[in-house]
C-alpha cells in the first residue's frame, strides 16, 4: 500500500471530513434518522455543499489584526489585516514585533464563525487559512477534483483577510490630525501640514499581552511560585507582578460583538500603568511609637523605593568603584534620588493634619517632630517656641547621614570622609533646602501674623 505523503491532499481531505462529521454528529445527535430535519442536515453536510456554502458565508467574516469596534462599539468602518511581516520594523513596540504564529482575530457575523473554525484546522502546524493564502495546490486538490471550482473556493477563503467594502472610518471612530509639516498654525497649508491618522485596536498584539499577563497571574507555575514566595520557600520560577494593572471592559455583556478574540478574553482588556510616582493620602500614617524615622530599618528606610535605592547603591559601592569622576557622578545620581525620596517623605508628613505629633503615641525626638510637623507650631505655642530656639535642621541632616551610613555600612568601611560627604550633600540639596527655606519663611510670616494679632500670643 502506498504511504500517503505528509501534508498531502489526502490528509487534508480527511482532516476536513472529520471536522464535518463531528459537526454533523453534534447537530444530528437528538434527531431521529427519519426526521426531515435529519435529512436536511445530511444534505447540508455533504462535502461539496458545505464547502460551497462556507465559501459564500466566509464573506460575512474578516480575519483582522486591527479592529475598530474596541474604539467604540457603535463604530462601523474598516478593520485591517496587517500581519507583522507587512509592517515596517523600528525600535518601538508595535504589531511588527509579533512572531509568525500570532493570533488573528475575526470580526463580522458571529453565526458564520464555524467557517473560521474550519479555516483554523491545522495540519503539521499550518492552518487551512495559511494554505489558502499561499494558494496551496494540495489544499486545492483536497477541496475538489475540479481545479476551477477548487480555485474559486480557495480565492473566496483567502479573501477573508481582505477589508470589506471601500476603506472607511466613522464619526465614532478615532481620527486625529498629526503634524507632518513645520507649522501647525499655517491654516492655508493645512492639507500639506497634517495627516489624518485613524488608530485601530491592535487586537493580535493585545492578545499576546493578555496571554502573557494571564499566564503570570493564573498559570499553575505562577501560582506555585507565588505560594513559595508568600511562604518564604524556594522556587525556580520568578514571580511577575504588574503594579496598578487595570482592566477595561469591552463590549459589556456581549464581548462577541466586538470580536472573536475579545470574546476569548472575556471582554477584558488589560492596561499597564504609567502612573507617576505618588503617595496615596490614605496610606500616609504618622510615625507613631518610634523615637526616630531614621532608626533601622526605620520608617524612612522601610519605604520600598528607599530600600531599593539603598540596596542598589550598596551593591554599587561594594564593587569597589574607583574614585574617578564616573563613580562620583553615579553616586551623586543615587544621592539625588535618595534626596527625592527624603523630600517626598517630608512632604507627605506635612500633608497630615497639623499637630499629629502631639499624639501621646508619638515618641519622636523633638527635632524630628519640628521637621515633620511644622503645622503644629501654629496652634501650639510651646512647640513653636522650642522649634524656633534650636537648629533642628542641622540635627536632621546629622541623623540622615548617620542613618545612611549605617544602612550602607554593614559591610562597608565607611569612614568620616563618607559621612561628611553625605551630610554635605544634604545641606546642598536644593529640594531639602527649599523645604527648609519655605519652612523658615512660613515660620517668619506666622510669627509676624501672631505678633500682629490683637491680644498676641498668650505665652508672651
Amino acid at each position: 500500500m502506498p504511504t500517503i505523503p505528509s501534508g498531502s491532499w489526502q490528509q487534508l481531505r480527511t482532516l476536513v471530513e472529520v471536522f464535518l462529521k463531528d459537526r454533523f454528529d453534534t447537530k444530528a445527535e437528538k434527531l431521529a434518522p427519519d426526521d426531515p430535519k435529519y435529512q436536511a442536515l445530511v444534505e447540508q453536510f455533504q462535502f461539496d455543499t458545505w464547502i460551497n456554502d462556507a465559501a459564500r458565508r466566509v464573506g460575512q467574516l474578516q480575519v483582522v489584526t486591527h479592529s475598530l469596534k474596541p474604539i467604540h462599539p457603535d463604530a462601523k468602518g474598516s478593520n485591517l489585516y496587517a500581519p507583522p511581516e507587512s509592517l515596517h520594523t523600528h525600535n518601538l513596540v508595535g504589531s511588527h514585533v509579533l512572531p509568525a504564529n500570532f493570533a488573528g482575530d475575526v470580526v463580522g457575523n458571529a453565526a458564520a464563525l464555524d467557517v473560521y473554525k474550519f479555516l483554523k484546522l491545522q495540519l503539521e502546524g499550518k492552518s487551512l487559512l495559511e494554505r489558502a493564502l499561499e494558494n496551496d495546490s494540495e489544499f486545492a486538490k483536497a477541496l475538489s477534483d475540479n481545479p476551477e471550482q477548487a480555485q474559486a473556493w480557495i480565492s473566496a477563503f483567502a479573501a477573508i483577510t481582505e477589508p470589506r467594502g471601500e476603506h472607511a472610518s466613522h464619526t465614532r471612530g478615532k481620527q486625529l490630525y498629526w503634524l507632518v509639516g513645520d507649522d501647525a498654525a499655517d491654516v492655508e497649508s493645512d492639507a500639506e501640514n497634517f495627516h489624518l491618522l485613524a488608530p485601530l485596536y491592535a487586537t493580535s498584539l493585545a492578545h499576546r499581552v493578555f496571554q502573557t499577563i494571564n499566564h503570570d497571574r493564573f498559570s499553575e507555575e505562577a501560582k506555585e511560585a507565588r505560594k513559595a514566595k508568600r511562604e518564604g520557600n524556594y522556587a525556580e520560577q520568578p514571580v511577575h507582578s504588574y503594579p496598578n494593572l487595570a482592566v477595561q471592559k469591552m463590549g459589556g455583556t456581549k464581548p462577541q460583538n466586538i470580536s472573536q478574540l475579545n470574546s476569548e478574553r472575556g471582554g477584558n482588556n488589560y492596561l499597564l500603568a504609567s502612573l507617576p510616582p505618588s503617595w496615596n493620602v490614605r496610606d500616609i500614617r504618622p510615625p507613631l511609637k518610634v523615637a526616630s524615622v531614621f532608626s533601622h530599618p526605620g520608617v524612612f528606610g522601610s519605604r520600598s523605593e528607599v530600600r531599593a535605592l539603598v540596596k542598589d547603591l550598596k551593591r554599587f559601592l561594594e564593587t569597589n568603584p574607583s574614585t574617578d569622576m564616573h563613580t562620583r557622578d553615579l553616586r551623586d545620581d543615587y544621592t539625588a534620588m535618595l534626596m527625592d525620596e527624603l523630600a517626598l517623605f517630608a512632604m507627605q508628613m506635612h500633608s497630615l493634619p497639623a499637630g499629629w505629633s502631639a499624639d501621646e503615641k508619638c515618641e519622636l525626638v523633638a527635632e524630628e517632630a519640628f521637621w515633620l510637623d511644622p503645622g503644629r507650631a501654629e496652634e501650639d505655642a510651646a512647640f513653636r517656641e522650642a522649634r524656633n530656639s534650636v537648629e533642628w535642621a542641622d540635627e536632621i541632616r546629622h541623623r540622615f547621614a548617620n542613618w545612611l551610613n549605617a544602612a550602607l555600612g554593614e559591610k562597608l568601611p565607611l569612614g568620616d570622609v563618607e559621612f561628611r560627604h553625605w551630610q554635605k550633600t544634604l545641606a546642598k540639596d536644593a529640594t531639602h533646602q527649599r523645604l527648609l527655606d519655605r519652612d523658615r519663611r512660613w515660620m517668619e510670616n506666622l510669627m509676624e501674623d501672631l505678633t500682629n494679632l490683637p491680644g498676641g500670643d498668650d505665652d508672651e
Binding site: 486591527h66 467604540h72 457603535d74 485591517l80 496587517a82 515596517h88 525600535n91 518601538l92 508595535g94 514585533v97 512572531p99 476603506h167 472610518s169 481620527q175 486625529l176 490630525y177 507632518v180 501647525a184 498654525a185 495627516h195 489624518l196 491618522l197 485613524a198 485601530l200 491592535a202 498584539l205 493585545a206 499576546r208 499581552v209 502573557t212 513559595a228 514566595k229 518564604g232 524556594y234 522556587a235 525556580e236 520568578p238 514571580v239 504588574y242 496598578n244 494593572l245 487595570a246 482592566v247 477595561q248 459589556g252 482588556n269 488589560y270 492596561l271 499597564l272 500603568a273 504609567s274 502612573l275 507617576p276 564616573h326 545620581d333 539625588a336 534620588m337 527625592d340 536644593a430 529640594t431
Partner: protein, 322 residues
C-alpha cells in the same frame, strides 16, 4: 547644544477628568501626544486671535493626580459616571472611559517677534485661552490647592550666557517641585531587549517592554549548600528610576490614502492613514535632576518613509552620558 530661547510656563493647572486611558494598552497618565495636540490647537487659536507666536516643544510636570479607579485588590477598574441612554431611554453600549484629575505645569518653547514688553501680556492671554480648552479631554478648573501667585503664567527668556541660563533654570526647577516630568527611555528598551536576547535569542521587543513594565521577583539561595541555606526573594530592577510603559505615537498599518479616498474621514482635504499605537518606556524624573530645559521637552519626530508618526524627547542623551 541648548537652543531653546524662550519658555512659556503655565504653572499648576488643575485638570478635571482628563483621559486616563492613554492607549489600548496603557493607563494612568494622558499620552504625551495629547499635550502635543493641545499645543498645536493652541497655536491655531492664538493665530486666530491675532497673537503671532510659534510653539515648538512641550513638557509636562505632574504635581499631583487622582485616578478615578478602584483601589485595593490585584486589579483596578474604572469609576464611570453615567449610564448612557439610547433613543428608547434604555441603556446604550458603554465605552469604558478612564478619568484622572491632574495638577500639572505645562511648559512650551515659544518664539515670537513680539517685543519683550509684550511678553507678560501674551503669557496672560495664552493662559486665558488655555483655561477654555480641553487638556487631554479634561477641563481646566481653578486650582485651590496652590496660592494664585504660584499659578501666574510666565514667559521666560533664557539668557545666552550659560551661567546665567543655568541660574534661570535652577530657579524654574525649584518652582516645579514637588513634581515629576515624563521623559523617554527608548535606550532602556533597546538595551533590555539585548539583555534578554543574551539568555533567549527569541526574546522580542515586546518581551523586553513587558519585562520593564512589571516587577520580577526572583528567588536566590543565601549560603547555598550550607546548613544555614535560606531562600531570599528579591525584586530585581534592571534600571534605577521610575520606569513606566507609555505610548509615544503611531505607526502606519495601511498605505497613505489620498484626500477623499476614505469614506467618513474628518475632512476631504487631508491625506489619511490607518495606524496603531506604538509604545516605549518612559521615566518620571523629578525636575531638580534635570540639567537643561530640553530634558523635559517633547517634540514631533516623524519618519514618513517608515510610516512612523512619533514623539521624541532627549533626556536619555544626557542621562546616559554620565
Amino acid at each position: 547644544m541648548s537652543e531653546v530661547k524662550n519658555l512659556l510656563v503655565l504653572p499648576r493647572l488643575r485638570v478635571q477628568n482628563a483621559n486616563a486611558i492613554s492607549s489600548p494598552m496603557t493607563w494612568g497618565f494622558p499620552a504625551m501626544s495629547a499635550f502635543v495636540g493641545l499645543m498645536h490647537a493652541l497655536e491655531r487659536k492664538l493665530y486666530a486671535a491675532g497673537i503671532n507666536v510659534s510653539l515648538g516643544n512641550v513638557g509636562v510636570i505632574c504635581h499631583d493626580f487622582e485616578a478615578q479607579a478602584t483601589e485595593g485588590g490585584y486589579i483596578r477598574g474604572f469609576h464611570l459616571t453615567r449610564n448612557p441612554v439610547d433613543k428608547t431611554g434604555g441603556t446604550a453600549a458603554i465605552v469604558e472611559e478612564g478619568r484622572i484629575h491632574l495638577d500639572i505645569t505645562l511648559i512650551f518653547t515659544i518664539d515670537s517677534a513680539a517685543a519683550e514688553s509684550e511678553h507678560d501680556e501674551i503669557a496672560k492671554q495664552i493662559s486665558e485661552i488655555v483655561a477654555g480648552m480641553r487638556i487631554a479631554g479634561g477641563s481646566v478648573i481653578p486650582n485651590r490647592a496652590v496660592p494664585s501667585h504660584k499659578q501666574r503664567p510666565q514667559w521666560v527668556a533664557l539668557d545666552d550666557d550659560e551661567e546665567k541660563r543655568q541660574k534661570q533654570f535652577e530657579r524654574l526647577k525649584r518652582r516645579w517641585l514637588p513634581g515629576f516630568a515624563l521623559t523617554l527611555r527608548d535606550d532602556y528598551l533597546a538595551e533590555h531587549h539585548q539583555t534578554l536576547q543574551q539568555q533567549n535569542p527569541d526574546a522580542s521587543l515586546l518581551d523586553a517592554w513587558l519585562d520593564l513594565s512589571r516587577l520580577n521577583h526572583h528567588c536566590a539561595l543565601e549560603n547555598e549548600g550550607e546548613s544555614n541555606e535560606k531562600p531570599v526573594w528579591q525584586a530585581q530592577r534592571p534600571y534605577r528610576g521610575w520606569l513606566v510603559p507609555i505610548p509615544v505615537g503611531y505607526g502606519a498599518i495601511s498605505d497613505l490614502f489620498n484626500p477623499g479616498e476614505v469614506a467618513n474621514a474628518r475632512d476631504a482635504k487631508t491625506q489619511f492613514r490607518f495606524v496603531e499605537s506604538l509604545y516605549s518606556i518612559g521615566e518620571w524624573v523629578s525636575p531638580h535632576r534635570m540639567k537643561q530645559p530640553e530634558d523635559l521637552l517633547w517634540y514631533v519626530d516623524n519618519d514618513e518613509e517608515a510610516g512612523l508618526y512619533r514623539l521624541n524627547n532627549d533626556y536619555h542623551l544626557r542621562a546616559t552620558a554620565q
